[in-house]
């Protein structure tokens, strides 16, 4: 599983789900915290439609954390003030980097959580789709009255 996909599941997945994975990891391995969860900033880069060149649109608050598990580094970062989530992502990232057994064991659960995230997004899209509109121009409206 690509890192981007894995981290999307961990960031958007419920806290309970991510904590359940971390609890397993903590019970099986010694985890060294290299950098305690701390707040920092990420600068957002966007591209404008006119020039197709990048510009900075503002910053976003994140919480980041680094750990080591079985000699492998792991890094966690998530938007907002969420130290527990940042730690959890770092631990899971380290386990995947080290290719430890839980990485393979968790695969089905991760895919199930991804399915729930997608469903949530489809539901939100379905609610927005209720507001679909067809505007008609009223050209010739007066003529119809004649």
């Amino acid at each position: 599983m690509k890192r981007k996909r894995l981290t999307r599941i961990l960031v958007e997945g419920t806290d309970e789900f991510v904590e359940s994975l971390v609890e397993e990891a903590v019970s099986e391995y010694d985890i060294t915290i290299d950098k305690d969860p701390e707040k920092s900033l990420v600068m957002l880069k966007n591209s404008d439609s006119v020039s197709n060149q990048p510009f900075y649109s503002g910053e976003v608050l994140v919480t980041e954390c680094s750990v080591t598990v079985e000699g492998s580094s792991g890094f966690g970062v998530v938007m907002g003030e969420r130290p527990d989530k940042a730690f959890a992502i770092a631990v899971i990232d380290a386990i995947f980097n080290a290719d430890l057994p839980p990485a393979d064991r968790w695969k089905t659960r991760l895919l199930e959580e991804e399915e729930k995230i997608d469903q949530k997004h489809y539901k939100e899209a379905a609610m927005a789709a209720r507001t679909k509109v067809n505007f008609d121009t009223m050209e010739g409206y007066d003529d119809q009255d004649d």
Partner: protein, 373 residues
């Protein structure tokens, strides 16, 4: 003349803080939880985040509580807090074409691929004060949310093509040169803005500009002090995924997903002109992007973006005039500072007016003498 500092007043300042707290809380029956602001004042929260240049809804809500609802003060607090944090990462370029759209309208085309969605808006509702809000029932609202949120799980469209891209395909607006090397954007949080600026600097300044100031300047252009009066090609509101490069990898594309940001993106279509490169006649486009749902600011930004590309004598065409006066922390701070002690400055003005009066009265005496009244 330089500034002269004042001292003293510590006790009074502490008491002023206490008095502010007293006025904020004296008639309170229910304490305002920042979570209430975050969830029930979302447009205000979005505005404060955008003008503060910091996407952090929870902190914008705290800032608004602390500022007793004053958006300018709340933005100041956000900027001040932001300055205490380190910036460790830059995101990959966010693709707004892939955003999860919750609102998408076009004033130019009634039929756009994927259709128009009104989304959450009050554009078409009567502006009647809803006195029923005084007696909103929590249980009824919960039932509404549950009923409204119940939808069948249907795999449908979440992302939609951009109208500007469709126009570009038809040759109605200029094509991008996708092979063109990407320039490193200017960062006005680290560098002083100088004029003429670069396009990236201008867009960054507009994106964190004050909503009211942007709207006023854009309005001036449409009213006649300028040449830009566009049609909204597309206004979209949605959630865009943010990724950053993985710090333990040398592969730039090995990204980490960090969450989604709600953005408003506006592309306005303006008058057409001849393309210098191929002599085709094409529409010119204005671009606006704001944090959260802040549609008027997005439209205003796109107008000013376009206006600053035109030449003329109108204020909205003057880059230095527009960009130097849209930042709320700078304008709010500068106007506010007039409240602080200026005793020495004013004393020198007093000295000068007295000297002038003395000079005038002595001159008047001479005139009287010359006139032999």
């Amino acid at each position: 003349m330089g500034y002269v500092a004042v001292t003293g007043g510590q006790e009074a300042i502490e008491q002023a803080d206490n008095l502010s707290l007293f006025y904020r809380t004296r008639n309170v029956s229910t304490l305002l939880n920042p979570e209430m602001i975050e969830n029930q004042m979302r447009l205000l929260v979005d505005r404060v985040m955008g003008e503060g240049g910091l996407y952090a809804p929870e902190y914008a809500a705290i800032a608004l509580k602390q500022a007793e609802g004053d958006p300018l003060e709340a933005v100041f607090l956000m900027r001040a807090y932001r300055s205490t944090l380190t910036r460790n990462y830059y995101s990959h370029t966010i693709d707004t074409g892939d955003m999860r759209v919750i609102r998408r309208i076009s004033a130019s085309f009634k039929d756009i691929p994927g259709g128009q969605m009104l989304g959450p808006t009050n554009d078409y509702t009567h502006r009647l004060l809803q006195f029923s809000l005084r007696e909103e029932n929590e249980r009824e609202l919960q039932n509404f949310v549950e009923d409204y949120g119940f939808t069948e799980y249907v795999e449908g469209e979440i992302t939609f093509p951009k109208v500007a891209d469709l126009l570009r395909e038809q040759g109605l607006i200029a094509n991008h040169d996708n092979h063109e090397e990407k320039e490193e954007p200017f960062d006005l949080t680290r560098n002083k803005l100088t004029y003429p600026s670069t396009r990236s600097a201008r867009l960054q300044a507009l994106a964190r500009g004050e909503t009211g100031a942007l709207t006023s300047f854009a309005y001036s252009s449409m009213r006649g002090f300028g040449v830009v009066h566009p049609t909204v090609g597309e206004l979209r509101v949605g959630y865009a995924a943010v990724t950053i490069p993985y710090p333990f990898s040398e592969d730039e594309e090995d990204g980490m997903y960090i969450g989604e940001v709600l953005l408003t993106e506006v592309e306005t279509i303006n008058s057409f002109s001849q393309n210098d490169d191929n002599n085709d006649v094409q529409f010119s486009v204005g671009y606006g992007l704001t944090m959260g749902q802040n549609e008027v600011k997005g439209i205003a930004m796109s107008i000013l973006d376009r206006s600053l590309e035109t030449s003329g004598e109108a204020p909205a065409q003057d880059e230095e005039f527009v960009l130097s006066h849209i930042d709320s922390v700078e304008s709010y701070g500068f106007v506010s500072h007039l409240k602080l002690p200026h005793y020495i400055t004013f004393q020198s003005k007093l000295d000068r007016i007295r000297q002038a009066q003395d000079h005038k009265s002595s001159n008047e005496g001479e005139e009287d003498y010359a006139g032999t009244k």
